[in-house]
Amino acid sequence: MRMQKSSSSGAFCVALVSVMLLAGAGAFGQSVSPEKSCAELRADPDQFHKCAIARAATFSPRRTSDGHPDLRGFWGRTLNSYDLEDHPASFMIRAQKSMVVDPADGKIPYQAWAIPQRNKNAATYVDPNSLCRLSGVPRTTGYMSDRILLHQSPDYVAFLSGDHGYRIVSMKDVPHVGQDIRLWNGDARGRWDGNTLVIDVANQNGKTWFDIAGNFASESVHVTERLTLIDANTIHYQATIDDPKVFTRPWTIAAALVRNASDDKELWLEECYEGEQSSKRLLSTHGRYPGYSIAVGR
């Protein structure tokens, strides 16, 4: 619901939500009563994730003419891409709880050598996204864009945005492109697993970061996304990241994607290729991330 900042109805709105959240607390920690959306737990990815799993078991989504859940429409993120892990607020950055739901401690399971590398990334290089590069997967879809138009047909799902390009997911049974083709946003193959859209992403190029904090993987990373409608306006987005070169085991993030509230159907192109001038300023203090292979020397 829209919250009016300065009116008394705004204060009432906040109070009402608080009461509902408290009333909904149950045996498994925070949860929401069945009429409320799990999206109200968006700020706590782990709680959202647990709520979403339970909710998905009973929700019956609207379907397209070929019988699959209808994910079409305009969707937006609920989390920021400053840092996948827990982080406090800083100037112009909101505090946020870890998006990592597995392992349970919310920490990315890096191999020991990789944690100093992650810290070195942020200290040494500019976030590639800030240099007008595409953001890779899962960042591009899970927690980067305020407005994604999701197009769905039997053969393709496409994520279209005005500021982070597009991703095309082939739903056909064809193999990934060859290993010598490397893509910022990877190569995606989708299939339905019950009510969940499962997307297999390979062929990333090791030149992107998961977030502004410098969390990274190699070009061998394999990402499996899972998108499930848990109510008419909420998608449970999960991504499992698997890269034996960098991590001790696969790990999973979760976040809510919520349907854009208005009936605005515009998707204005806001891409970075109009003569932007931030890059040279950013590069005056930090370097350009050369990609995993060069940065890490492997």
């Binding site: 079409r72 159907k265 003569g275």
Partner: protein, 242 residues
């Protein structure tokens, strides 16, 4: 009924019936979905031109081969041509505008719904949403776009796309052909068979030209096995070379 002595030959079906080989969506319009690409040299020069080192010769896509510049604009085009390597925004990996994006040598993919047609281009991951819902262009005093703003409708088998709200920053080709922010492009996409679209665009810009002019050329459905769009991240490649 066969009449004794009459020759037995089949009638050739009329041309319009050949378009029954065009796939249709459930609302009866041609299904334009798929991966398409132009095969011509318009990216270098939309008019007839001889070959040069690195530039193939080409028969132009401009009907009548003449671009009706006003006198001042013809002089500007010549200056643009001489300094094209540094002045062409596409040479700096900036957005190529419409219609140039259509004839750059990279594939694009069309996705179609009742409310919009989305054209996504491999070239720097540009996407255009063509609204089919009768909505109006935004106020050009409010916003302009390098790729313009696109609103479309069907006229029989032709998708007609009205494109306005341009900047004056894009060129039509590497040869320095240019426009003002008053540019108005009307595109027409017409299937001529299962694997071909005829693309036409009318260019209007009373600030630069003495009259509207038109380009046209075929678009070919890519036939390669398992063909898909990849990425051409021009900006990243250019920067890495520095």
């Amino acid at each position: 009924m066969l009449v004794a002595g009459a020759p037995a030959y089949a009638l050739v079906p009329p041309v319009s019936a050949q378009t029954s080989t065009v796939a249709r969506t459930s609302d009866g319009h041609p299904n334009l979905e798929g991966i398409w690409q132009a095969v011509n040299t318009a990216a270098w020069d939309v008019q007839d031109h001889s070959g040069k080192f690195g530039v193939p010769a080409g028969q132009g896509i401009v009907e009548g081969n003449e671009i009706p510049y006003q006198p001042w604009a013809l002089a500007q085009k010549k200056t643009n041509y001489e300094k094209r390597a540094s002045l062409d925004p596409e040479a700096k990996c900036q957005m190529p505008g419409v219609p140039r994006i259509t004839y750059l040598p990279y594939p694009f993919q069309i996705f179609q719904s009742g409310e919009y047609i989305a054209i996504v281009y491999e070239y720097i991951h540009i996407n255009r949403i063509i609204h089919l819902d009768g909505s109006a262009h935004p106020d050009p005093e409010l916003i302009e776009f390098w790729m313009g703003d696109s609103r479309g409708h069907w006229e029989g088998n032709t998708l007609v796309v009205d494109v306005t709200n341009f900047t004056d920053k894009t060129w039509f080709d590497r040869a320095g052909n240019f426009h003002s922010a008053n540019l108005h492009v009307i595109e027409r996409y017409t299937p001529t068979g299962p694997d071909h679209l005829q693309y036409e665009a009318t260019i209007e810009d009373p600030k630069v030209f003495t009259r509207p002019w038109k380009i046209s050329f075929p678009l070919y459905r890519r036939q390669d096995k398992n063909v898909q769009l990849l990425e051409y991240e021009c900006y990243a490649y250019a920067e890495e070379q520095q």
